[in-house]
Symmetry: C2
Subunit: 447 residues, 2 copies
């Protein structure tokens, strides 16, 4: 009764609200899709057989759902992991320890045996100066909550080049993680063109603690050997499905997620869940009796994790129509309980969208102040597309992020469905409301 | 003020209670010792360099603490792990998955590629009959709390032999764990002499869930390769330290822990913590102005994890004096907050001991009904030695038990010290009280 009352409120027709919210919550399709993507396909690092299979699978599913589906070719980095080992060597102070390590994405392979020097930031490398030469740099930090990721991720992305430039022979990074059972968390590192490249790996937080304790007592020597290597770029694709707008087909509402994952696990949370959500939103909207006013475009990006080739490729291929992209959303924050909708829009955008989100009141999801975005959307920054996020609880997101523990059992089907419902309502609203969101101001430039 | 009042109560002299409780809580010695054992030595599987180093380390520390210390030689199994890999093979239903596995302790090495058949108990193997022949048996279960360990551990200890007898080619066991980030948990398997031996490994709970899901959809083929092997028995030792009784030196109060650990980690919780606790209790009692009435014997057993050679060796070597062992305690349940003291004693034992434990009231540790024991004490079962346990909170014990995550960071120094204080008071009481605990009845025979 309460639900019916709430659904009756606002500009979304009740039968549409019921079909989108009720459909997502009762169909079980999002979870079933996620299970296909993770259990039948599994890890999907760019260039891998899993990534290729995921492209074909997604194309077929979007077609089955009644969307006009196609692939758009992109060339992707093809990095493979190989064997990876590291150990603290025996010394008069101790008999040695194996370390739980995993190469950072796109790291060169190679081996090194050297003393370890601990640093707490990229900036500290310059300050350490000659102390880094010939050493293995160990980046340590105090990440304990999701918000810390942004504070420390520079050590992963740019620490290896800074270290290589200072003469280091390898890098160990304390995993960017909020929980651990000796689990190393990978993630992209980016080599500067002008810096010597050194092998770089994440160590588990436990091993980082061990290194730190041992370094307080004296010199520590580590041997590290990474079998990873970069192969020639591979052919891959973004997968796109559309529900063509009934009145303004040239105006596009983009809802995306990334189809690739790291290689250590099934990529259920990052970003299989996002893929399942936006596919379900697309399926539900395609099933409506009347198509929305504007075109809904589901975009499953390839290579978000280690190159962003899909996001860059999409922005380049669609440059001419980015001005007619009236909103874009990327689902890439896991699948815990959805808490809010956030916008990056011009003045008045929130007020415009708010009444259209009344169908989400029953799920306790509210429009709130904040920012929105997504890695795959950053290449279209210049077009000032209004951005929208459905923001789930991320408390435990970094417990398993980029680790071998990113598996299907971590996904709650009900929360997954709620996220899909929220994205469906948001996408419908943006595609149907009479006016479009005001475009946001340009982002301030960052380094 | 409250502490002083409480300490004044009961037969333990206040200055003794203060020295034992206050000493444990303020010295920092237990944690410092644990850090030496785990960081400077590390993993201590029987026959390994770590185990040998631990024996020498413990001997020296007990001597430094003023105990009469010695080693007692035991021959131990010498099992080594080697490389271990497993994967779900590609099939028309899916493109395959790596599995997170680790060999069960004492498993033979070898490889197998076969279909998987799921079983929920050892008994089910016989019921499955011919369905097991040529297959990899996958033991699955529903462990979710510490008390479940006892329900399911038979699959680890006896599942491989039951499977081998039925014609299986290998065994995968869902890890006996209460939490996981894709972490397999090892533990002993015991081959029956008359059963064909097959390689046996634990899989992470996540991979067990995956196997279960895939098996619901059709046949699953797995390839497993374990590089583990059993070497000839190695020379090792229990380490023993004594504080000789001032009046009844022939009556022995034994407090023990096991010096060996699994090879996957530092063995901080299992059982470095126990070692640190009983050593600290011994050190504190040795430091008293007046030695207790009876002899306190600290016994650091070797090979609890994969053979019990230390426990068996101790019982055999001391057979003649087990009748004069007036009490025995093994600390092997981790180092979380100590909750209670439990006895396995004859009628009236609890009442005898209770007043002596008043110094522990301030730590909120109480004598309670229950049982007591310890794996290394079972070989002396026939002697009906009264058994005593200091029982910590074990809620999270099986989160890391026998896994790579059993590392020093999991130990809280304050709780470790409280456990040491409790053991010190219990041991002092047993060694000092005028009479000895009544001996318990024989245990009912088990299969």
């Amino acid at each position: 009764m309460l639900l019916a009352l709430l659904l009756a409120v606002g500009p979304v027709p009740p039968e549409v609200a019921q079909k989108l919210v009720g459909g997502a919550l009762t169909s079980g399709v999002a979870y079933a899709r996620l299970q296909e993507l993770t259990d039948a396909i599994g890890a999907r690092l760019s260039g891998s057989p899993g990534a290729a299979a995921a492209v074909q699978w997604a194309l077929k599913k979007l077609q089955q759902d009644g969307l006009a589906a196609r692939t758009e070719a992109v060339k992707v980095p093809h990095w493979v992991r190989g064997e990876e080992t590291a150990e603290i060597l025996a010394s008069p102070a101790g008999i040695g320890h194996r370390l739980a390590v995993t190469a950072l994405g796109n790291s060169i392979g190679g081996s090194a045996t050297a003393e370890v020097v601990e640093a707490r930031s990229v900036a500290e490398i310059a300050a350490l100066g000659a102390a880094v030469r010939g050493k293995i740099v160990f980046f340590n930090h105090t990440m304990s909550a999701p918000a810390d990721y942004g504070k420390f991720v520079e050590m992963r992305s740019h620490g290896p080049s800074a270290s290589g430039r200072a003469g280091a022979v390898a890098v160990l990074l304390r995993s960017l993680a909020t929980a651990s059972f000796r689990s190393p968390h990978t993630g992209l590192t980016i080599y500067d063109a002008d810096a010597p490249r050194v092998p770089a790996a994440a160590v588990s937080t436990e091993d980082a603690d061990l290194l730190h304790r041992l370094l307080q007592r004296g010199p520590v020597r580590v041997r590290i050997a990474l079998g990873c290597r970069m192969l020639p770029d591979a052919d891959s694709a973004n997968v796109i499905g559309e529900v063509r707008g009934r009145e303004k087909p040239d105006e596009v509402v983009l809802i995306g997620a990334h189809l690739d994952s790291w290689d250590l696990a099934q990529g259920a949370n990052d970003d299989g869940a996002g893929v399942a959500m936006v596919m379900e939103a697309g399926r539900l909207i395609a099933s409506l009796q009347q198509r929305p006013r504007r075109t809904l475009r589901v975009v499953l990006f390839m290579n978000e994790e280690n190159g962003l080739a899909g996001g860059k490729g999409y922005a380049a291929a669609h440059q001419a129509e980015l001005g007619r992209h009236v909103a874009a959303l990327e689902a890439d924050s896991g699948a815990d309980r959805p808490l809010s909708v956030r916008l990056r829009t011009g003045e008045g955008g929130n007020a415009m969208l708010a009444p259209w989100l009344l169908p989400l009141e029953s799920l306790d999801i509210h429009l709130e102040e904040g920012d929105a975005g997504g890695a795959d959307l950053t290449p279209m920054d210049g077009a000032l597309v209004p951005l929208v996020s459905v923001h789930p609880d991320v408390t435990h997101y970094f417990d398993i992020h980029h680790s071998a523990a990113d598996t299907l059992d971590k996904i709650d089907p009900e929360n997954l469905a709620k996220n899909a419902a929220a994205i469906a309502v948001v996408a419908y609203a943006l595609a149907e409301m009479p006016a479009t969101l005001p475009r946001p101001a340009a982002r301030p430039a960052t380094h």
